[in-house]
């Protein structure tokens, strides 16, 4: 032991004269650091109540509860996270995974109360001093637990597409599909949005786990035409996908297509073994479109004997005769239809009700009749010159192409309308080499057509003229047509309503074309119904149906485009399913 060891320690007595570490009273509150994980904040308007925060929480500290002033609506469950601070460990995984970034944390960390129950609170709903704090833990842009970008679908390039009717979407490989399915957070917001309420998280899980047959079975529980819907569904689910708020939505439609494509038709019966016990009751379905086929499938599973009357020589309705082959190859549609027929559904092709067989006869022979005729009658523009040669409707064009009939497209074509039929007609005309101009009354963003159809059309060099109101068609030189339109201005109609195009007087323009294709909408053709059924209509061409899809005649039901507002295939399928349930209910309780 050295002498130094005895003396040196006294050196630190100097500390007696230094500033102490301790903070004297009154205590000043020290704010948390800018990244501090303090109390939660939630922007209730941004939050969609997907519940992913609740799923990731390893302490079960978050549950989803209804909140005053928040209504359940499309794309929003109406629930909001309630956090139990008796369980929370401030790990902030809820913030990290929040797909809308509504949930974050403030840097506040002092909250004193004598009532323990207040620490179970709904951030954003219960007003707290830290609600407006800017500092605190927020997820950084670079750090994302779920990949915000989707796996891009491979497509034929636009210059290839316009050359043929080959299917333009190539489909996912197994690796791509699994990677895309991995992005799903399984919140189920899409299920609520889907008109058929398909178990989307369920079949995406099947893709992820490569349980293809389970996935197929799951899809058939709510949708008997997955190969078709996997290609041309309007996919409202993807609009509401939680991931679409800060990134790309899951490619739900392509994953559905992937599942349907993996199983050959011959293997369907193995994947979905059914045991149908016939109950002997006869159901007649008029129209073999998605609505009719869907009803036929579910009624057949319940044991009914089904006869479908179809005016055309093939089934599928509007999905066959209104959608070009590059979007929906006919063999895929056939696959869906053939599976339904394989269950014992009878279909009478080339049988137009009212001409080849009378409605009364069907009505008499069947226990119930389902009218599912779709909208096959194109609306007229109701403008002068519409009857001049060179005018044709979009539906007629598409119908003829499907039947393999020749349509002679002239050099310059005008397509009137902004729906899917207009886009399909325009793109079909492009395929035949025509120079196509689309004229629409409103703006591009108001077009009812699918966004991707519009984009595809633009890529394929279709010209768009918007806010153009058709005025008249005049004969021009060399058998050409002069299409005259007026410019419109958009007049706001108040919140929640589409702006209305109003003609600006004196602003008239014209384009000279060889052909005018009008595709401004279509209606139903009820001419097959005899006069005695006049009572079924609430107004002209509008069947009156109740919530069970039943008309004023208790034996007659209606579904498909004639019965719903959305007028797309998936809604028709959903209605077909519901109508089937109603028919079953009705017949069982006779």
């Amino acid at each position: 032991m050295k002498l130094k060891d005895w003396i040196a320690p006294f050196y630190v007595w100097k500390r007696a004269f230094e500033k102490p570490f301790t903070v004297p009273k009154p205590l000043k509150e020290r704010p948390g650091s800018p990244r501090y994980r303090g109390f939660h904040q939630n922007d209730l308007d941004t939050c969609i109540g997907c519940g992913t925060c609740s799923s990731i929480c390893q302490n079960h500290a978050i549950d989803m509860v209804p909140v005053d002033g928040i209504e359940t609506h499309k794309g929003d469950s109406g629930l909001r996270p309630r956090i139990d601070y008796g369980r929370c460990c401030w790990c902030a995984l809820c913030v990290d995974i929040c797909p809308t970034t509504s949930l974050s944390m403030s840097n506040e960390y002092v909250w004193i109360d004598t009532d323990a129950d207040v620490f179970r609170f709904i951030p954003g709903s219960e007003k707290k001093p830290w609600d407006s704090f800017k500092k605190g833990y927020k997820r950084e842009e670079e750090y994302q637990l779920v990949d915000p970008r989707r796996i891009e679908m491979e497509m034929l390039p636009p210059e290839e597409r316009v050359k043929s009717f080959l299917e333009m979407v190539k489909g996912y490989s197994r690796e791509q599909a699994q990677k895309e399915a991995d992005r799903c957070i399984q919140c189920g917001i899409c299920t609520a949005t889907c008109p058929a309420h398909m178990d989307i998280p369920g079949y995406i899980k099947a893709v992820r786990e490569n349980k293809i047959e389970d996935g197929l079975k799951l899809m058939y529980e709510t949708n008997p035409m997955p190969a078709m819907c996997g290609r041309v569904c309007t996919h409202q689910c993807e609009e509401d996908c939680a991931l679409a708020h800060t990134g790309d939505a899951i490619s739900i439609r392509w994953l559905k297509r992937y599942l349907a494509d993996q199983v050959e038709l011959d293997d369907y019966s193995k994947a979905m073994p059914v045991d149908i016990l016939s109950n002997g009751k006869q159901i007649a379905i008029i129209g073999a479109g998605p609505g009719g086929l869907s009803a036929a499938y579910y009624l057949r599973l319940l044991g009914y004997e089904i006869t479908i009357y179809e005016a055309n020589d093939k089934g599928g309705g509007m999905t066959r005769y209104g959608i070009p082959e590059y979007r929906l190859p006919y063999d895929q549609l056939d696959k869906d239809i053939e599976y339904i027929l394989s269950l014992g559904v009878e279909i009478k092709y080339n049988t137009r009700v009212g001409k080849d067989i009378s409605f009364q006869e069907i009505h008499k022979e069947s226990d119930a009749v389902l009218i599912s005729i779709g909208l096959m009658l194109p609306y007229k523009m109701e403008i002068p010159g519409e009857d001049l040669p060179g005018n044709i409707s979009g539906l007629e064009v598409l119908d003829k192409i499907t039947r393999g009939e020749k349509v002679h497209f002239e050099e310059k074509v005008a397509v009137i309308g902004g729906g899917n039929v207009a886009m399909d007609s325009a793109r079909t005309a492009r395929t035949f080499g025509a120079d196509v101009t689309v004229l629409y009354r409103r703006r591009i963003e108001d077009m009812p057509a699918d966004e991707e159809e519009i984009i595809d059309a633009q890529q394929e060099k279709v010209t768009f003229i918007t806010q153009a109101i058709p005025l008249r068609i005049e004969q021009a030189e060399d058998k050409r047509l002069s299409f005259i339109y007026g410019l419109a201005e958009m007049v706001d109609q108040g919140e929640g309503k589409r702006p209305k195009p109003v003609l600006i007087e004196g602003k008239e323009f014209s384009i000279v074309v060889d052909m005018v294709i009008s595709a401004i909408g279509q209606g139903a053709d009820f001419s097959f119904l005899p006069m005695e059924y006049e009572k079924l209509f609430s107004r002209k061409n509008q069947l009156k149906i109740d919530e069970f899809f039943r008309t004023r005649d208790s034996k007659i039901f209606a579904s498909g485009d004639i019965a719903n507002q959305t007028k797309d295939a998936i809604s028709a399928i959903a209605d077909g399913h519901r109508a089937a349930r109603s028919i079953d209910h009705f017949l069982k309780n006779l």
Binding site: M1, K4, D5, W6, A8, P9, Y11, V12, R15, F21, G32, S33, P34, R35, Y36, R37, T52, S55, I56, Q58, C89, W90, C91, A92, L93, D96, I97, Y137, E140, E142, Y143, Q144, L145, V146, D147, D182, R183, C184, I185, Q186, K205, R208
Partner: protein, 389 residues
């Protein structure tokens, strides 16, 4: 001990000492589970003869939270938030070995910058742990003031953690795939400021503690670990290094970016409590140097996180691995088994305290003075939370 009077010790029958309390030769004292002389919730059942320890049993179980079992029912990312709680004074080693084991099994490579940030956090954690320890070491031998200085410095390091990770104690920063955030503005300057403060306090500690005659006299010869014992008992870290064995995971199997840093393994010779204090003291200075090296060499740009599969249903291919790192107390490792599902099949935490606080302490305590027992226990730098996961 050979010169001592064997009379004091109990008779040994079949290798087990027979302690006859009725004889009034022996006294049984419980030190813990709540006691300033133990390093947490652990209990020492001490049998004394006079004030000399003749037998010691370590009792654990007061802090068992079942983390290993909890992890078997939690998804990988959810486990990440609970592993830090296994060791309170130095949670980051747990975070690192868990993340590294997960990444190894899942085949994920983390970005370069994440490696530097992880190293920075690990060294800061080691330093914070040592600062807390040296306060305990001095306090156990009667010098409470040292703890007040060093724990205050540790708090400044916790401020740094708060700034970088968003939390003071349980940082939850080293997420599988990288780290959760980049360096905030002004952080580097704050680190330098705190390091200067730490150096100043360490200088004072050196004078007041390491040059203190009383401390030296009490710590010298206390808890001697022979070289042979090191392998026999599985002694690691500074305890092994003080025995003269140059063992350091950071050198022996470098992880992260330790191979790019300039440092030597610090060893001692005497292998008693005093030597271990010297070794750890020098390691603290080494930590300061390493932290400075990291912040100077660290890449300023680049990604700090790489995408992992969706954590809600992240399945890791079946496999097993053992990943280890050098904590302040020595080799710290996770043996992880995955069976291809969303949950780890088994996570075994290997903390150095298990051997240090049970087998080693029970052996070294025999013959020590009761008053030195706390000093001995702290000199092994034991941490009960990691004994009972």
């Amino acid at each position: 001990m050979k010169n001592r009077d064997r009379e004091k010790f109990p008779n040994v029958l079949n290798g087990i000492p027979v302690i006859d309390l009725e004889s009034q030769k022996f006294l049984k004292v419980w030190q813990g589970p709540q006691h300033p002389g133990v390093t947490g919730n652990i209990s020492l059942e001490v049998t004394l003869s006079g004030d000399e320890v003749v037998d010691l049993k370590t009792h654990v179980g007061y802090l068992h939270r079942g983390f290993e079992k909890l992890m078997e029912r939690r998804k990988y990312l959810q486990c990440f938030t609970i592993v830090c709680r296994i060791c309170v004074p130095e949670p980051d080693t747990n975070e690192y070995v868990f993340a590294a084991a997960t990444e190894e099994l899942a085949g994920i490579t983390i970005p370069e910058k994440a490696k530097w940030l992880r190293t920075l956090v690990l060294e800061m954690a080691r330093l914070a742990s040592f600062l807390m320890w040296i306060g305990g070491q001095a306090g156990a031998l009667g010098m409470g003031t040292i703890a007040q200085w060093t724990v205050a410095q540790r708090d400044y390091i916790l401020d740094l953690f708060e700034e970088l990770t968003g939390a003071r104690v349980y940082h939850m920063y080293m997420v599988p795939g990288g780290v959760r955030g980049d360096i905030p503005d002004g952080f580097i300057e704050h680190v330098e400021k705190v390091m200067k403060g730490v150096e100043k306090v360490l200088y004072d500690v050196e004078i007041a503690l390491l040059n203190n005659a009383i401390f030296k006299m009490r710590a010298k010869g206390l808890g001697y670990i022979s070289k042979a014992m090191v392998d026999e008992y599985g002694i690691v870290g500074p305890n092994a290094r003080a025995a003269g064995l140059a063992r350091d995971i950071r050198k022996d199997s470098p992880y992260l970016i330790y191979d790019q840093l300039d440092f030597n393994v610090i060893t001692g010779t005497h292998s008693d409590a005093l030597e271990r204090t010297f070794v750890r003291f020098r390691e603290m200075l080494q930590c300061v140097s390493l932290i400075r090296q990291v912040i100077n060499k660290m890449p300023r740009n680049g990604a700090y996180y790489t995408h992992i599969p969706n954590p809600l249903h992240w399945k890791i291919p079946a496999g097993e691995t053992y990943v280890r790192a050098e904590a302040s107390r020595g080799e710290y490792g996770y043996y992880m088994v995955s069976d291809g599902t969303e949950y780890p099949r088994r996570v075994q935490v290997r903390g150095p305290s298990y051997t240090h606080a049970i087998a080693v302490l029970e052996k070294l305590a025999i013959g020590t003075n009761l008053a030195d027992l706390a000093g001995l226990m702290v000199s092994l730098h034991t941490c009960p939370p990691e004994i009972e996961r």
